[in-house]
């Protein structure tokens, strides 16, 4: 388990070792969504807001 500092509120975000690139995690303090940009090294950024839309 790694600890990461939330770029929004500075709170701690615990990140498991099995996270996947692109996975969305939620900051337990401020609730903001964070995207796993890379796993080696672990890098999280604020996730873009994505509205739902669908193809066929």
């Amino acid at each position: 388990m790694n600890n990461f500092e939330c770029p929004e509120c500075g709170g701690g975000v615990a990140v498991g070792t099995a996270v996947l690139p692109g996975e969305i995690l939620e900051c337990p303090d401020c609730g903001v969504e964070l995207e796993v940009i890379s796993t080696h090294p672990l890098q999280l950024e604020l996730a873009p807001e994505v509205a739902e839309d669908w193809g066929e």
Binding site: L20, E23, I24, P48, V50, E52, D53, W54, G55, E56
Partner: protein
């Protein structure tokens, strides 16, 4: 004006659909056809060694994951085999059908979704470079020109982004956008089920009538899989001024005429 969406699942009777369309056209009705092709696309993709992948959004909608190779297979089947097959069936019946994709003449234009959010095994993640989007503008000048000159448009995804890229769009919602843009009175969405089922797959549990303001609650409680997107398309059509949306069965005889007689789920 009637817009008819024919699904692309297994069991669709294209021959019967085209027979009904020919009859309507002979009677002076103006008709626009929109079609799918998902079942055949899956088969061709498998045969070409590029198996289809589907993803589920956080609110439970499924759609095809579309990379460039998938999009090209999609075009081969939708714009090629399925579209030309329907055009041929209509031409054989004396209907002057014209097959177009949403790319042609920027018929269906909209925003591409470069990033989508999906849920896999309970984990949410973002997928980039997906070639999907949503129809926001319909080239009505092109369609009314064709209709005015006696042609029957046969339309298929993909659509085109504002940047000129082909993108996979949902056919039911594209049909709804087309019906709204053309001021159609009826939108028929025909597939391989009798309509909206209260207890899928029990076909005897057909819901025959639905008010427009019931769509959202029913979509949550009774609709599964692609049926939820059909209901979303129905809602968009009704909000845009279409009088009735009918979810009908494209298997068996007289599928279009039966739906117009109210056989299926009549919404609105």
């Amino acid at each position: 004006m009637i817009v008819i969406k024919i699904g692309g699942s297994e069991g669709i009777d294209y021959e019967a659909v085209c027979g009904d369309v020919a009859q309507l056209v002979r009677e002076g009705q103006r008709v626009v056809l929109v079609h799918g092709g998902s079942h055949l696309t899956n088969q061709v993709a498998l045969a070409l060694g590029h198996p289809p992948q589907f993803v589920t959004s956080p609110s439970g909608y499924t759609s095809r994951l579309t990379d460039r190779a998938t999009l090209e297979i999609f075009e081969m089947v939708y714009c090629g085999q399925v579209n030309k097959n329907i055009v041929e069936r209509l031409q054989r019946r004396g209907v002057n059908a014209v097959g177009l994709s949403g790319l042609d003449g920027r018929l269906w234009q909209g925003s591409r979704k470069a990033v989508i959010k999906v849920v896999e095994n309970g984990r949410t993640r973002l997928i980039r470079d997906n070639l999907t989007g949503r129809v926001e503008q319909v080239n009505t000048a092109l369609l009314t020109g064709l209709l005015h000159n006696g042609f029957v448009p046969v339309l298929t995804p993909p659509a085109i982004s504002y940047d000129g890229e082909a993108m996979n769009v949902d056919g039911d919602r594209a049909a709804a956008a087309t019906a709204v843009a053309l001021g159609a009175t009826e939108l028929l969405i025909l597939s391989n089920v009798p309509g909206l089922l209260r207890h899928f797959p029990d076909e005897s549990s057909l819901i025959r009538q639905l008010a427009a303001d019931e769509i959202e609650s029913v979509a949550q409680s009774h609709a599964q899989g692609r049926m939820r997107i059909k209901l979303l398309g129905a809602q968009e059509a009704l909000q845009g001024g279409v009088r009735h949306v009918i979810l009908g069965d494209a298997r068996g005889e007289r599928p279009v005429l039966r739906a117009l007689d109210g056989v299926g789920t009549v919404i609105g």
